[in-house]
């Protein structure tokens, strides 16, 4: 069983809107509360480069739902690592993107900010040496985060359900394959998002696979720490 570990208990008081009143003035001004979150992302896998994480702040919706088809934006991300459609989707309030992929054993830090309080943080990144595997955080509730609070999450690997897991050189875009990235055709066993079943690999008898033992992974695939710094 994998549980999220809460490092710090948040206090709600600091998150309430500040209402500035003046005794000599009947009008009340609601002041915006600028927020900034520092997100540290470590790649825990043996051989899966993780596409540049795009940290998204939003006030509604989720990036994906288990058992439901992936959005086109998520399909593009999961098959190619390209987060551009996710970044431009209507749910996004604010976004910040890592400039480079997070390679196995490496850690990236991304800071995302917004001019006012925002409800949720999400991101999705592709596991590059796969057909349509991705990891991420989906709709993390920020309402209980006070300044300097820090929470650590372990992320899981999902299958977008948009591309068959042939693991072939023609279909895996990462360095282990060098094949095609995005293809709008959906030919997976099931056209819905679910947990990823893992890499089979040629070493484990899948003759169509260009992948080896080196690209196998298990959960969790990333360690992500979110700290509210403003």
């Amino acid at each position: 069983m994998i549980k999220f570990t809460k490092v710090a208990v948040a206090t709600a008081a600091a998150l309430t809107l500040v209402a500035c009143g003046d005794d000599n003035n009947d009008s009340v001004t609601v002041v915006a509360t600028p927020v900034e979150y520092q997100v540290t992302l470590s790649n825990l896998t043996n051989g899966q480069p993780i596409s540049p994480p795009a940290l998204i702040l939003h006030n509604s919706s989720a990036l994906w739902t288990i058992g439901s088809p992936a959005s086109n934006a998520l399909e593009l991300l999961a098959e190619s690592g390209d987060s551009s459609l996710l970044q431009s989707s209507s749910l996004v309030t604010s976004v910040a993107v890592s400039a480079v992929p997070v390679l196995p054993g490496e850690t990236s830090t991304v800071t995302v900010s917004h001019g006012d309080l925002v409800s949720y943080l999400s991101f999705a990144s592709m596991l590059g040496n796969s057909n349509d595997a991705f990891t991420g955080l989906n709709k993390i509730d920020l309402s209980s985060f006070a300044i300097n609070d820090s929470v650590k999450y372990s992320t899981l690997a999902y299958d977008a359900g948009t591309e068959a897991n042939t693991e072939s050189a023609e279909t895996v875009p990462g360095p282990a394959g060098g094949g095609e990235a995005y293809n709008p055709q959906r030919d997976d066993n099931n056209n819905f998002v679910a947990m990823h079943a893992g890499i089979i690999s040629a070493d484990d008898g899948l003759s169509s696979s260009v992948l080896t033992y080196q690209q196998k992974f298990d959960n969790p695939v990333m360690s992500v720490t979110i700290t509210r710094i403003k």
């Binding site: 288990i66 899981l156 997976d188 099931n190």
Partner: protein, 223 residues
């Protein structure tokens, strides 16, 4: 809370600090891409009862669940402990990516939640939750569940040794394993499978019948 529960709580209160009955709304999501769950049994019970414990031998009742998908024995076992039980909330198989919601009201003293369902196709694999302490504070709680191996049947992955309501047509496998590695309940090592529908070592498809943990998500809303 019903009057009956209030009275019971009052009497128990004379002897111990018993917790009160709670209404639970429970959602189970099958997180896998290619594994089905047989009829589910979920129960609120006391600290004496259980469906299984890791690193202990499976009961005959759990063996019947894990190898054959039958929840009757486990149901009888839990009933003997006065557990509050929900059987087969999904009305049959809960397929990959599917979910089922049900309610369970636990009686006073039944402070632990357990759940089990066989995973198909496996020889004796099941998704399980063992004695999760039901929170007393109202709220929504999420628990991720792992796949367990009952340790009662070798994982040969030969279809004639596995219930097959999901209609696997592969045959002719020579078998992955002939021995049980760990005869106590343990985390399932996973399916091997192959891509040969008429032979190979497994009748399961390595591209479909696989999983990594967690295999299910349980959401419990405590009223």
């Amino acid at each position: 809370m019903s009057n009956k529960h209030l009275i019971a709580a009052g009497f128990l209160g004379l002897f111990s600090a018993a917790s009160q009955a709670q209404d639970l709304t429970i959602t189970l999501v099958n997180l896998t891409q290619g594994i089905s769950f047989t009829p589910i049994i979920a129960a609120a019970h006391d600290s004496q009862a259980s469906i299984f414990h890791s690193a202990e031998a499976a009961s005959e009742e759990l063996q019947a669940l894990a190898e054959g998908g039958s929840i009757d024995g486990v149901n009888l076992l839990l009933s003997g402990y006065g557990a509050d039980i929900t059987t087969n909330p999904a009305g049959g198989l809960l397929g990959a990516g599917g979910d089922t919601e049900f309610t369970l009201t636990n009686s006073d003293g039944n402070d632990y939640l357990s759940l089990a369902a066989m995973m198909l196709p496996t020889n004796d694999g099941f998704v399980g939750l063992d004695s999760w302490k039901i929170p007393t504070e109202a709220g929504t709680y999420t628990v991720l569940l792992s796949a367990y191996d009952a340790g009662t049947e070798a994982n040969d992955e030969i279809i004639s040794n596995v219930p097959n309501p999901i209609g696997i047509t592969s045959t002719g496998a020579t078998g992955v394993a002939t021995e049980i590695g760990n005869t106590n309940v343990h985390i399932h090592p996973g399916v091997v499978g192959d891509t040969d529908p008429e032979g190979g070592i497994s009748d399961f498809d390595s591209r479909v019948h696989r999983w990594l943990n967690p295999v299910a998500k349980l959401t419990v809303v405590v009223e």
